[in-house]
């Protein structure tokens, strides 16, 4: 309980620090949030009136403390560009982003770890080199570029997958999704709307592949390195000497011991994917937090920028906390220190 309390207090400090830095930066750059709200051709008098309404005429420290107080009461302000509550914007868009992250990390874990293990098995051979090339390409290729290439090939040339969007536009007229959890693909499955679900999965393939590229490459290299390290340890040699089968040695002994660092990297990857969606959602016109973040940054929509920063910080903290719990479970030597 004490550890949990300690972790929560440090998390709170991190959140306050992140909010303070973002708030200050958003206010010191030369821009006019009032004009962002009512449009550039509004009169000076209109803009001045709005500045007073939005509290922008007050000193920055007062504005910050007001913001902090309102945030803790669930009022994250109003987006200057969409005029909607920032919290509502975030909660409306978060499910689309979380589903994308879920499939992306799923791709990365399944293919990344599998290929990493295969690379370890075929160390130094053709398969190992091929996997290395794919992994390095995944890590080094910028997401927006990789996304455009996938779009051009699989949507533009081959026509196998849709170029953009979460669903075909027709879905909302022919097979509308009834909201249960807010997660569109999950809701389609729960409500038996399989036509929408398959369409959603079809749309998911390219963005999820794009978003997973970095994590896939990282996990693949990590899995290979850890497997090779564990396979060279004495207890594996002893197990072989005892005549245990290679399948047991490989999957039961080696992979289990190689997993903890992979779990840590997976956790960090999820945190990376939160910001990775900024580019991917823009390329695929995905109606999630990432595209909202990019549009907010371009229009210097500071309440939205603040909200997204807080969300990203919370995402990092929660992910790291969960990773710590899983690590402690997988490896008893790692306690909740």
């Amino acid at each position: 309980m004490r550890i949990l309390w300690k972790r929560l207090s440090s998390a709170l400090l991190v959140l306050i620090g992140a909010s303070f830095i973002t708030f200050t930066l958003a206010r010191v750059i030369p821009s006019d949030p009032a004009l962002a709200y009512i449009g550039p051709k509004a009169t000076a008098a209109d803009a001045e009136r709005l500045r007073v309404t939005l509290g922008l005429d007050q000193p920055i420290p007062i504005q910050y403390f007001k913001y902090l107080g309102q945030t803790f009461h669930g009022n994250w302000g109003y987006s200057l560009s969409t005029k909607q509550s920032v919290l509502k914007e975030i909660t409306d868009r978060l499910p689309a982003t979380l589903e994308l992250i879920f499939f992306a990390i799923g791709f990365a874990i399944i293919f990344g770890v599998t290929l990493g293990v295969l690379a370890a098995k075929y160390r130094g051979r053709f398969q190992d080199s091929l996997i290395r090339i794919i992994s390095i390409a995944g890590v080094s290729m910028p997401a927006f570029w990789f996304g455009l290439l996938l779009q051009l090939l699989f949507a533009g040339r081959l026509g196998w997958f849709p170029a953009t969007g979460e669903f075909d536009i027709e879905v909302k007229y022919d097979n509308p999704i009834h909201k249960v959890t807010g997660f569109p693909i999950l809701d389609s499955l729960i409500t038996g709307n399989f036509s929408a679900a398959t369409n959603g999965l079809h749309h998911m393939v390219l963005p999820a592949l794009t978003l997973s590229a970095y994590s896939f490459g990282l996990l693949s290299r990590m899995a290979r390195a850890n497997m090779l390290e564990v396979l060279s340890q004495d207890h594996i040699k002893v197990s072989r000497a005892y005549g245990l089968s290679e399948r047991i040695i490989f999957f039961k002994l080696a992979l289990r011991n190689a997993l903890p660092p992979i779990v840590t990297v997976t956790g960090l990857s999820i945190a990376y994917l939160i910001t990775g969606t900024f580019f991917v959602e823009q390329v695929y016109n995905w109606p999630g937090i990432g595209s909202f973040a990019v549009n907010s940054l371009i229009s210097i929509d500071y309440p939205a920028i603040m909200g997204i920063t807080l969300l990203a910080a919370i995402g990092y903290l929660v992910t790291n906390f969960i990773v710590d719990l899983i690590q402690a479970k997988l490896d008893p030597r790692v306690g909740m220190r």
């Binding site: 533009g156 026509g159 196998w160 953009t164 290679e246």
Partner: protein, 527 residues
């Protein structure tokens, strides 16, 4: 090899499963659409700053002109008539141009079912004038009389072309009195996508920053109903993404194809490329408060250094023409006889030397979100360097660029690049006044230039334009000649509107008077 548990057969199985998954996903059928015949799908970059038709002053005009109607629509130049009737069917003005009478259309109703009548027109225009923003277009308006339910009389304090003003993209919509009352009580009334219009479409769904769905208004007064009852619009800021959506068939039409991609559509037989004049004009403001830019000779020298041909080619990708001042070709009071600067390096150097300028270093700012500016501004820097003037180029967001320029003019940028367009089709009242007329506090005159002769010419022309358009044109032309000689700005180019149109559909032609708009009621299947 010790690690031999993965046999070739298991590897083949893995490959087979992966291939099956990929092909399975690829073959997922896209659901057939019951709506297909009545659904038109669009991708556009047009953001919605506000749904309030009185506050509206930006790209939401794309939607607004389908939802709301003014009294008149202004036709493109090539049309037989100057105007088409919208909510007014006839109109006339007194000889002195100070009294205008409009007869309203019988049977027109707002989307809430209430009739469009004289009281609604009066309330809408009085609200627009009171609120500000585009309300400045009603500056000549003194009072409005409503002698009957279908007659509105506008009494002006000075003669003005009220037919032109009443057909403005901004500030001239007629709004349901119920909506006006609702927004007076709750300023956020429109934010969720409510409307108070009478146009052929009404908003049926709005996801901020993501999508807008318009549905045909069944009781609209027009005899011919829209061919498409539902217009589904995906807000897609990125042009390349919009292009992918159109070419892959996800949407029927994308309105924001990047200029750099237009060439590829010229050879694609599914599309045609249409080029129109647009009201968009690129200007660079010199900071006339700072030495040596406070000397017109130095500004002239810099104007002669520019390679306009290359800027048109690179910035407008060939879909542009060199500007003749800040009034775009095709918009009143454009004058084709206004002189233009051309690249004359020797003359530029000589003018600079005569002004005694050496080692001049300038700071140029442009809006980083504008890809055309990002392309051509480096050419301005190169041009200045060719006459020995160095330049520091800063691409920043327009809001920042503008805020910095207004905050401290004396220490602001030396050259401010801007894309400008008039609020309605009168660039005398807007461009010439807004960009270069002197003001106590800078707003859009970011050259901070003050010239009493110019101010008087513009003020007189504005007053005269309601009763003597030709006389006003003469005054405007004199003013534009002063802009050429005094060079408070660099006059770069008039941008063309390039539309990539799918041949499968008939899409109404672009109307220069409504630069952000698409009129969906006229969209039809081609065959």
């Amino acid at each position: 090899m010790a690690l031999s548990t993965f046999s070739p057969s298991s590897r083949n199985r893995f490959v087979a499963v992966a291939t099956a998954l990929l092909l399975g996903a690829a073959s997922l059928s896209i659901p057939s659409s019951a709506q297909a015949a009545t659904l038109f799908k669009v991708a556009t970059s047009a953001a919605v700053t506000t749904w309030d038709p009185i506050q509206s002053f930006s790209t939401e005009a794309f939607y607004m002109t389908n939802i709301y109607e003014p009294l008149l629509w202004k036709n493109p130049d090539a049309a037989a008539d100057d105007y088409s009737p919208a909510l007014a069917t006839s109109w006339n003005s007194s000889k002195d141009g100070k009294t205008w009478t409009f007869k309203l259309r019988a049977g027109a109703t707002f989307h809430d079912g209430t009739p469009v009548n004289a009281a609604a027109v009066k309330a809408s225009i009085e609200s627009s004038k009171a609120v500000g923003g585009a309300g400045f277009i009603w500056d000549p308006l003194k009072t409005i009389d409503t002698p009957s339910a279908d007659t509105v009389v506008f009494n002006l304090s000075y003669p003005a072309p009220l037919d032109l003003i009443a057909s403005s993209t901004y500030g001239a919509y007629i709004i349901s009195p119920a909506a006006l009352a609702a927004v007076a009580k709750d300023a956020k009334y429109y934010d969720s996508g409510k409307d108070g219009g009478s146009g052929p479409y009404t908003i049926s769904s709005y996801k901020a920053g993501s999508s807008v769905v318009l549905t045909a208004y069944a009781k609209h007064w027009a005899d011919v109903k829209p061919a498409y009852s539902t217009i589904d619009i995906s807000i897609t800021p990125d042009g390349i993404t919009a292009q992918q959506m159109m070419t892959s068939g996800q949407v029927d039409w994308a309105t924001n194809i990047p200029l750099t991609s237009v060439k590829s559509f010229r050879t694609n037989n599914k599309y045609k490329v249409a080029v129109y004049k647009s009201p968009f004009n690129y200007v660079g403001y010199f900071n006339t408060l700072r030495a040596p830019l406070n000397n017109p000779v130095v500004r002239q020298a810099l104007s002669y250094a520019i390679n306009y041909r290359d800027i048109v080619k690179v910035g407008g990708q060939g879909y542009a023409t060199q500007a003749r001042g800040p009034v775009p070709a095709g918009i009143y009071p454009f004058d084709k006889n206004i002189p233009q600067y051309s690249r004359q390096l020797a003359k530029a150097k000589s003018l600079l030397a005569s002004a005694g300028v050496k080692n001049l270093k300038l700071k140029i700012t442009y809006a980083s979100e504008n890809s055309a500016e990002a392309r051509f501004v480096p050419l301005i820097k190169d041009a200045f360097e060719s006459i020995g003037v160095s330049a520091d180029v800063q691409g920043i967001l327009f809001n920042q660029q503008w805020a910095a320029a207004k905050k401290d003019p004396a220490n602001a940028q030396d050259l401010f690049i801007v894309k400008y367009w008039p609020t309605y089709s009168d660039a005398g009242v807007d461009n010439l006044w807004s960009l270069f007329h002197s003001s106590t506090k800078p707003f859009f005159n970011l050259s901070y230039w003050k010239n009493a002769t110019y101010d008087k010419l513009i003020d007189d022309a504005i007053t005269l334009s309601g009763s003597d358009k030709a006389g006003a044109q003469k005054l405007y032309s004199q003013a534009m000649n002063i802009l050429f000689t005094e060079a408070p700005g660099l006059y770069l180019y008039d941008e063309s509107q390039v539309s990539v149109l799918p041949k499968k559909f008939i899409i109404p032609s672009y109307n220069i008077n409504y630069p952000f708009s698409a009129f969906f009621a006229g969209v039809k299947l081609a065959s």
